[in-house]
């Protein structure tokens, strides 16, 4: 029974091998791997009383006595040895001129606005060499004004109008932020002054009033405190909103002006 199972397994192997028969010859490497099947086949065939190979091994260049070439078990090397030395490159005036053109063109492309740099990475510490790198980058901030009629609308609509002196958008953005912050601080100072004044007045009022009715005064104070608190919050809110709207107006006005223009 066990023997029968083995023969059956051998037969299955054989069937597979025959199925692959088409590919066996195609590749010399697999041919070597599959050679075992040939032997297997001859053994199995012996059981049936026919001792013939399905094809002549000689025809693939292997003689009776020869051993099969070793099978390859690893991928081909990344840098295979070159059996033939390559020819030297064609030299001459044309080749040299083409070379110069190629290198020049590549250099020129780097300084064009179409060469897009990724957003500068956040540096951990300021380095001495930074100033040299920044000078490299500033060279390529050349203005490019495409004709937005030739581009899909979605690409151009949010482009901000550049500042007139031709500095990059990111720089101008930061200056805008800075200026708005400045405004804010000035406003805050004014508010503080106003508040102090109002407080002074109130104190004067308070001093002019009778000093009895402490409860009432306390309540008043509390109310005042609340009032103050409210006022502060309210003012801060408006301040925030106003500055927000300031920026928005600036942007809006710009894009209204010149919707179809953007500059990198």
């Amino acid at each position: 029974m066990i023997l029968w199972e083995q023969t059956r397994a051998a037969f299955l192997c054989l069937r597979r091998a025959q199925g692959r028969g088409r590919s066996i010859l195609r590749n010399p490497e697999t041919r070597a791997d599959d050679s075992c099947f040939l032997f297997l086949k001859s053994e199995v065939m012996a059981g049936h009383g026919r001792r013939t190979l399905s094809f002549n091994v000689d025809s693939v260049g292997i003689n009776r006595g020869d051993s099969f070439p070793p099978s390859l078990q690893q991928p081909t090397p990344l840098f295979p040895v070159m059996e033939q030395k390559p020819l030297p490159l064609a030299a001459g005036e044309e080749a040299e001129y083409l070379l110069a053109l190629k290198q020049e063109f590549r250099g020129a492309m780097r300084s064009l606005p179409s060469f897009i740099q990724p957003a500068a990475k956040h540096r951990d510490v300021e380095r001495y060499s930074d100033k040299y790198h920044s000078s490299e980058q500033s060279e390529r901030l050349v203005i490019w004004t495409p004709d937005w009629k030739r581009f899909p609308r979605e690409l151009g609509i949010h482009m901000r109008k550049p500042p007139r002196d031709g500095v990059s958008v990111s720089v101008s953005h930061s200056t805008k932020v800075q200026s708005s912050q400045k405004k804010k601080t000035v406003k805050e100072k004014k508010e503080v002054l106003l508040k102090l004044e109002s407080l002074e007045k109130k104190e004067e009022q308070q001093s002019s009033e009778e000093e009895g009715e402490e409860k009432k005064k306390q309540e008043e104070e509390e109310a005042e405190g609340e009032e103050e608190y409210d006022e502060e919050e309210f003012e801060e809110e408006t301040d925030y909103i106003m500055s927000y709207f300031d920026n928005g107006e600036e942007f809006g006005g710009d894009s209204d002006d010149n919707m179809d223009e953007a500059i990198y």
Partner: protein, 538 residues
Amino acid sequence: MTAQEVRLCGLLLQEHFGEVVEKVGTHLLKSGAQNLRAIVHETGVALDLVKKSLCVLVQHGACVFSSRRKGAGSPTEYLTSYDRILRILRYPRYIYTGKTLYGDTGELIIEELLQRGHMTMSSIVKTVADRLTQNMEEGCSMDYNEVSSAFSKLVETHFLQRCPPQKTQASDNSTTTTPSDPVSTTQSTPESFPDCYKVPHVTLVGRGKRPHPGEDGEDQRNAKRPKLDPETHGDEGIYWQVNFERFHLHFRDQAIVSAVANKLDQTSSEIVRTMLRMSEVMTSPTATCTKPLSANEIFRALPPSYNIARPILDQYLTLLVDDPMEFVGKAGDSGGGMFVVNLHRALANLARATIESVVQERFGSRSARIFRLLLRKRHLEQKQVEDFAMIPAKEAKDMLYTLLSQNLVQLQEVPKTPDFAPSRTFYLYTVNQLPTVRMLLQNCYKTVANLIERRLFETKESKRLLEKSQRIEAILASLQASGAEPEQLTEVEEMITATEKQQLDSLRLHINKLDSAENQVDETIFLLESYVNSTATS
């Protein structure tokens, strides 16, 4: 599109437009048409950078966009074409051709256009005139008219063409167009527009300006944004681009002429050149052969400087027709014989010669003999190969199997019985030219990508050295400009030590070699591509 093509496109984009464009471009290449949202989402690049990258790609013609592909109201989709990006590899050759045909002016026009993607005529003329003036001696300047006429010549010979007019926003949003033809409207070629090669009337008077030394930066910036100038020249909105197809036809003709010169002699190549020039305007770009020309016509069109007498011309033509490369064919007997140039046949033969030489250089001349044998006899059994090639059986088998494993030779099975039993099957070796050429083409793409990769590696390795030498050169230049003492100059020069100088020299040598190798592989790529394209049309 294969992995090799995508890899090469990515490297080319990175070198010419930066990493961001590379990321967006390769993503588009891999994923096909996509809308803006999807690109932003899948690349993880910031929205404004994606927009800029798309603008750059559209500007350079490497990306087309279309809306309403999926019906009205669907978002605009972007699609890059890899063959357009691979053209970047051939840019030096286009520029060089511009120079050989139309001098420095032609060279600069092509160069500017390739750098910027597309431009208006007035801005090209201005920029080129300014650049030419800068290179001229003091007191001379380039007239705009001269540049304009060179430009017009380039357009007349179809080397430049108008960018196809874009669908305007208004018509984009209008609902009058039927949604059944959205694809056909966007896929139209530039040639399909009647005004494609019409030069607009441009009012441009003046001469190229030389930047004054004091306001150098200011003037340069002005030169680089001519469109901001308040004056108009009457050609706003008409953009020009380089017609690559026309350049390729020119390259093809050149390849045929030089092949004839190598195969036969100079005189016959001049005859073929004349034939090609005569039929240049009449033949369509995809024609398999030129329009028939009679020997009389050819004789009259030959430039008198060649000194070819009529009987000699007849002899040469017969020789050309009899040549096995079949560059020239005979189409009839009238008019002293009608002759054509077999364009596609010539390309096929040139491609075949390329494969043969690849086999010869990589596997030796005896393998090449087997290869040529198979090419000529089509199908051969192993035994026949050994016999015909007159190579000892064992070696012949070895070579044949090597070629087979490299996929240069294919194996065809012809079973006598339907069961494919190996003992009753013929195994015929054969060479299929077209698949082999396609494979070699992929190998070429891989080669160029490897060359670029290697060059980037070499540059990266000695980045510090290169920066140092650049800085010292800058210092030297500024010192020389300010009239410094020679001792000072030598002192600065000595900041680069001898070993560093040696390293720099060898680095330059390597990079030059890699760069020229790229150029020369591209010549092979061109030949193989043209052959593949010609089989697609014929």
